[in-house]
Structure formats: C-alpha cells, structure tokens
C-alpha cells in the first residue's frame, strides 16, 4: 500500500473507481521533484468518487462525494 518515495495519491483512494471532474493541465511529477529533479510534465486530473465507492458500507452518506487531484500515471480506464 505504501511504496517508498514521495507519493501524492492517497492510499485510501487506490484501486477505487471515479470519474474525471476536470482536467488541470500539465504539472511536474512530484515523485521526481521530491528528489530535486524537474519532473516530467504529467496531466493532472481532478477525480470525483462517491463516498460509497471509497468507504463501502461505512460511508456516512453514500451519495456524498470526494474529489482529489490525481496525476495521469496513477489512472487507468474503468
């Protein structure tokens, strides 16, 4: 769950399915920037998840949503 290095994709969202709320454009990859490198430019997306998807039965109210910014290399088509 927690690979070494500087990761900006929260563990609680890994493996969850959401939809693109908006595209934010290219940003340097923080996983490289953390080591003093410029960082490849990657497309950053705002991804929206339902609380039901993230927390399952424990969701406080399933229809509430959570948005997070996720770099493209952490996403795959669902």
């Amino acid at each position: 769950m927690m690979p070494p290095g500087h990761i900006r994709t929260p563990a609680y969202l890994r493996g969850k399915t959401g939809w693109i709320e908006r595209q934010l454009g290219p940003f340097g990859n923080p996983e490289q920037q953390a080591y003093g490198l410029l960082g490849d430019k990657l497309t950053l997306y705002r991804v929206r998840f339902t609380m039901a998807e993230v927390w399952g039965d424990q969701a406080e109210r399933p229809e509430d949503t959570l948005d997070a910014e996720i770099y493209e290399h952490w996403l795959e088509p669902a």
């Binding site: 994709t9 406080e60 229809e63 949503t65 959570l66």
Partner: protein, 211 residues
Amino acid sequence: MPHDHHDHLSPSGHPYRADNDEPLSYWQTMEIAVRELLIEKGVSNAAEINAQIDAMDARSPADGAQVVARAWTDPAFRERLLANGSDACREMGFDIGALQLIAVENTRDVHNVIVCTLCSCYPRNLLGLAPDWYKSREYRSRTVKEPRKVLSEFGVSVPDGVQIRVHDSTADMRYVVIPARPEGTEGWSAEALADLVTRDSMIGTGLAKTP
C-alpha cells in the same frame, strides 16, 4: 474537536509554552544554512527575507472575504472566479504569487469542505496562515471519512438532502469555498457583505454569518 485545549495555564491565564532548548531538527538546520548562503552570495538579504515573512503574516481571511463578497454581488466576476480562481483574485489586486486557486460554490443543494489529507495544503496566499486544527491528523483523517460528523462538531448541520463534496488538496491546486450568501442581505454593498464572510466559511467548516 475544532479547538485545542490547554490544560496548563499560567496565573495570568496564558498557556505555558516550553522553552525551545532542544537541538535543531534537520530541516531547521537546512533552512538556516540555505538562508545564510543566499545572504552570503548576495542573492537576498536579511531585510528582504524579513519583509517576505511580514508579507505572509499580514495576509488574512479578509482578502478572501472581499473576493467572496464580490462574487455575491457581481455575477460576471462570480463566473470568472469559478472558471479561474487565481486570475480572478489577481484581477482584484491580490498578490497571490504562484497560487493555483479553484473556487467551489455552496448552493442550496451542495456544501463543499476543504481538507489536505497528505499534509496541510491551504490557500495561504489568499487566506493567510492555516488554523492549527486544519493541520491536525484528526481533521485531516476524519474529514474525508465522516465529513458530516466533523462539520456538526464545528456547529454546521448539513441537511440530509444537501450533498457534501469533500475536496482533498492532494497536488498542485488550492481551494476556497464560496459560502452561500446569507438571507436578508439583499441590496447590501460588497464591503458590508465581506464582514459576514468568516475564515471557516471559506474552508467549508463554517457558514457565512447572518445579519
């Protein structure tokens, strides 16, 4: 939860603060080393660095409140703020630096709340320094899981028919909530309205004050 409790108070009612006698941490040493190098090499000087610290300390939620009040009173500005938060703030003359701002709007059907689970990202160039509780592990971990419970502890009860949108600032964007304009303020000037806009209402843990 929102407020820290100080168990030990001095006779004059102030909390005791321990003397900072412990050795410097790695990052404190690094900060001093980099600052001294910048000064030695003539890149900056102590006055310039102090002026920058003062400028950051001087920023306060009052800047954000002016932005919100303008959005309430100027529909074209509201559109621009929702389309590009950074540009709209610069248009009002706020020096927000490299801040990449997204404004999210509370409506009759939606309540937004901001958190940074990974660290403590906060739009400080617009709202000033973040409150301590915003940086606490408790706020950061609970807000993404039980936002309604957290909000109720702040005194904000979100009706079941209203959707909560939590925004986790995980990367390059910073967020500000445009709270709903209070009822009974029709015809008010932007200046008067700005007094109703609290810091917490722009984080989503509060509502704008009602007149």
